[in-house]
């Protein structure tokens, strides 16, 4: 079979040059026609090996891709779970804030017998020798004492000044008239 095939190929390729064709024909026959059984088994083994390698690579690729897809899906789920938890958290903050509103706390305090303190109810106790660590905001700071009163921001316009001058002149004329 190989012989006739190679012969045909050789004829096809080298038709214009009969010498080369004949030489090639002989070489093909020499190469493929001898020891047919061994050649087939090698080619088959190579083919099987190739297919096996392809299968291994393919399955590796597929498993990797599937793993990516699963992981990504898990990440997506986690993101949506996180968002849902954040929403629940916001809702809980809202509920807590609603329970902690001053009118509600005040009403509840009154219910259980408390009343608002007045200034007269407060007693301050001074402890000699104790210096509270009070963060008192002072009225002025050293920096403030350096601030000078600003010059008045008064911008008299030219037209205003002109009006004033005209008014003064007219007033003088009026006084002359009187």
């Amino acid at each position: 079979m190989f012989g006739s095939l190679t012969q045909a190929v050789a004829i096809c390729l080298f038709q214009s040059d009969g010498r080369v064709c004949r030489m090639s024909q002989a070489w093909f026959q020499h190469t493929f026609s001898r020891k047919r059984f061994r050649t087939r088994s090698q080619a088959t083994a190579l083919a099987i090996l190739g297919v096996a390698i392809l299968l291994i690579l393919g399955s590796l690729y597929l498993s990797q891709v599937a793993s990516f897809a699963i992981t990504n899906r898990q990440i997506e789920d986690l993101i949506s779970r996180r968002d849902a938890l954040k929403r629940q958290n916001e809702k809980l903050i809202g509920e807590i804030a609603s329970y902690r509103t001053v009118p509600r706390l005040f009403a509840r305090a009154v219910e259980i017998g408390f009343r608002p303190a007045t200034n007269a109810d407060i007693d301050y106790v001074l402890i000699e020798g104790y210096k509270p660590n009070r963060n008192r905001a002072s009225a002025t700071t050293a920096e403030d004492s350096r601030i000078e009163p600003e010059a008045p921001i008064y911008e008299e316009t030219f037209s205003g000044w002109l009006e004033q001058q005209l008014a003064l002149v007219s007033k003088q004329f009026q006084s002359f008239g009187n």
Partner: protein, 584 residues
């Protein structure tokens, strides 16, 4: 007939042409292939876009709006999620519409017949319900029904309800844009960035997460929730007691300009702002509306004159009860003459003639210069939405006349906001230094906390002038407005009475006045300043209604802000002085 050699010769003769043709064809193909590989940028982008449109979906992700807290971290505004529900009738499985409608009717509390009608409609899409709560949304999502579409709607929630409603403001446009109050003024800070996120449909691509910086920044206010509550409670009680039309109270720390409370009554519920029938209620009278301040202006006139050296604390004049300025007659409110009168009496008795005399002594340049220095005619920049700047007409303005100098000196023909007035008084309380009033204390973003440090606008008057005026205001409270006095505390303050002016004249009648009081305490070391303003109450003078309200508020403030009385503070000062002495 041609022989083989002739055929061969013909072929050989034609071969170069065929070869050349084939070479040219190959070259053409190669050039086209190269062109295809190296498109111009615009074409490449267009092709990428087409490619992305197949493999990617663009999602518009609304930014989560930042929260608003009071100074102690109590939430004033944050977000909750609601849903909008729709159905694709074509995707409802045959024979399943009824059972689906029954389930939905139970969850949504809607008539089943209506849901069936929509579920079997011929339309591609039918709106079912919305906004629905997060619980309802989650129950529907759990059905895992392909024909149902849930769309998230972010909703702003104000857990404190009406408390500080005008300070916080509202959001409009489906929660995307802030209006009024801090929501409006700090919209850019709070709103974050709306993202158009390109999400890959390819399952092998890593899922996109929304970036943290997309979220709006949180804001911490200077408002103290407890102070705000008591101020609103007392204001509401006073308005009912005096049958006033409305009222405003501002509480400020003069040492740093922090607004601790800003209350208006009547107020609004920002959770239901669409249901507010009267649009005027959405206006914050503390900053969005102006009024003629009346007698309160006397304090600024006197302080300005003392600062300019035009008068001394011992300056007197002969009060005849009447004065003419620029062709206009100005009378005292009581139409009485007071004879020889000193500066403190001008303040105590709110003498329009005395104030006019002082303004005339100052002259236009000094007077208007000082009024501008006190911040009149300019927005304070407190950090609230659409603040009014008031109206201070000065010489040169087309509508200014000479009589304005006299009228302005006692608070007529001049428009101010309550925020401007308390800021000016706070400057006197703070030894003459005007602090920038502020409502925002901190901004919290992904990078951390940014403190808004208190800032100084300017020194308006010297410490000596401020001390002189403070002493006068202590006497004003003692002898002119004793209802403002708080036992154990030195109070400095000034009541104000202003007629309500219309386009042509002043309104007449008992309820045609705005009565106010501004005071600060303790007078020797002011830690808090309070402005009270009541519109159209059943009373004639500020010391009758505004001063008692000031006292009630001050009574609460000294407890809430832990301000000891004068005796305790004096003893504390002694103890601290002894401690410092012994340490040295």
């Amino acid at each position: 007939m041609q022989g083989p050699s002739s055929q061969k010769a013909t072929i050989q003769a034609r071969l170069p042409f065929v070869a050349i043709f084939l070479i040219l064809l190959a070259a053409y193909l190669v050039i086209n292939l190269a062109n295809f590989q190296f498109f111009p940028r615009s074409v490449r982008q267009e092709l990428e876009k087409i490619g992305n449109s197949i493999t990617n979906t663009t999602l518009r992700i609304p930014a989560e709006r930042g929260r608003i807290y009071d100074r102690d971290g109590e939430p004033f505004a944050f977000n909750v999620i609601q849903y909008r529900l729709g159905i694709s009738p074509a995707l409802v499985a045959a024979g399943y519409a009824e059972s689906l409608s029954e389930t939905l009717a139970e969850i949504l509390d809607l008539p089943e017949s209506e849901i069936i009608r929509k579920a079997t409609s011929e339309n591609v899409w039918e709106f079912l319900a919305g906004p629905i709560s997060a619980e309802q949304g989650q129950a529907i999502a759990a059905l895992d029904e392909i024909s149902l579409g849930l769309e998230e709607i972010p909703k702003r929630f104000y857990p404190q309800g009406e408390l500080a409603a005008h300070v916080i403001g509202i959001v409009v446009d489906d929660g995307l844009r802030g209006a009024l109050g801090v929501e409006g003024a700090y919209n850019d800070t709070l709103s974050g960035r709306v993202l158009d996120l390109s999400v890959s449909n390819v399952p092998f691509d890593l899922p996109e997460d929304r970036p943290a910086e997309q979220r709006g920044q949180d804001i911490v206010l200077t408002i103290d929730r407890d102070v705000q509550f008591w101020v609103e409670t007392e204001l509401k009680n006073a308005i009912e007691e005096y049958n006033a039309f409305r009222g405003t109270v501002i509480v400020m720390d003069p040492r740093n300009g922090d607004v601790l409370a800003l209350a208006n009554h009547p107020s609004i519920d920002p959770n239901n702002f669409l249901e507010i029938a009267d649009p005027n209620l959405r206006v914050n009278p503390a900053i969005n509306e102006t009024y003629e301040p009346g007698s309160l202006m006397l304090v600024l006139t006197v302080a300005g004159a003392l600062e300019k050296g035009v008068i001394s604390p011992f300056w007197t004049y002969n009060d005849t009860g009447y004065i003419e300025v620029g062709g206009r007659d100005i009378y005292n409110a009581t139409y009485r003459s007071y004879g020889t009168t000193d500066v403190t009496t001008i303040l105590m008795s709110s003498l329009n003639v005395g104030a006019t005399k002082i303004a005339l002594e100052m002259g236009t340049s000094n007077f208007y210069g000082m009024m501008r220095a006190f911040g009149l005619g300019q927005a304070t920049g407190v950090g609230l939405f659409a603040e009014e700047r008031g109206e201070l007409r000065i010489p040169g303005d087309s509508d200014w006349s000479e009589s304005f100098l006299g009228l302005n000196s006692h608070g007529q023909s001049i428009e101010v906001t309550p925020m401007q007035m308390i800021t000016a008084f706070a400057a006197i309380a703070n030894d003459g230094i005007m602090r920038q009033p502020r409502i925002v204390r901190q901004v919290i973003n992904a990078d951390g906390v940014e403190d808004a440090r208190p800032s100084t606008i300017r020194r308006v008057v010297s410490a000596e002038t401020a001390a002189l005026v403070k002493n006068m205001l202590i006497l004003v409270v003692r002898d002119g407005a004793p209802a403002a006095e708080l036992p154990g505390y030195s109070i400095a303050g000034m009541p104000g009475t202003a007629k309500i002016s219309t386009a042509v004249a002043f309104e007449e009648g008992r309820n045609a006045k705005i009565l106010s009081f501004i005071g600060f305490l303790p007078a020797d070391d002011p830690q808090v300043a309070v402005m009270v303003k009541m519109d159209r109450p059943d009373a004639d003078f500020g010391h009758q209604v505004a001063a008692p309200l000031f006292r009630r508020i001050a009574d609460r403030l000294v407890i809430l802000l832990e301000i000891p009385d004068d005796n305790v503070r004096a003893r504390l000062t002694d103890v601290e002085a002894n401690l410092n002495g012994s340490n040295n």
